[in-house]
Subunit: 100 residues, 2 copies
């Protein structure tokens, strides 16, 4: 199982636009084959950070995600709404150790 | 590096109380020795899911977190605010593979 965590910093004045686009991305990504979970989350501490967390059955599912028309189109429009054009996206090979 | 992701489902009528407690937990956890990152995030799709994501240098740091007075006190008060008393907490041994 792979997990991706992407952190996007919205430009404050474009926060709503980024949220709307992110909601579209969540809906369409959840419908993808091989997507175990996909969600968008806002920082409760008041920053304009948007966290997008995805879980994928394997590398192939993740690559299909990145190559999908909706990902390309939506994330392509993110850039102009962000403080930094390139978001921090971390990809983890995750071995779930334990459920506390 | 270890990562914990905890998902809490707030009772709708107690959503604000949970957020306030979670903010306290974030502030105090960030100050802990061995905590690389700690944040609380709300679901942008409108559910009452609260995601708490922590990154720790090692198992020792994570155990000190769980044994800390503030964790015990704050998370102890979460239970009455949640739909399910026991949150889903997943612990991952994370090997950061790549920054896309």
């Amino acid at each position: 199982m792979l997990m991706t965590i992407a952190k996007f910093e919205a430009r404050p004045e474009l926060r709503q636009e980024l949220l709307e686009l992110a909601r579209m991305l969540v809906e369409q990504s959840r419908a993808e084959d091989g997507c175990l979970d996909f969600g968008g989350y806002r920082d409760i501490m008041g920053s304009d950070t948007l966290l997008v967390v995805g879980r994928w059955i394997d590398q192939g599912a993740l690559e299909r995600h990145y190559e999908s028309a909706h990902f390309q189109e939506i994330v392509g429009r993110f850039a102009e709404l962000l403080v930094e054009a390139l978001p921090s996206v971390s990809l983890y090979e995750v071995v779930e150790m334990d459920r506390l």
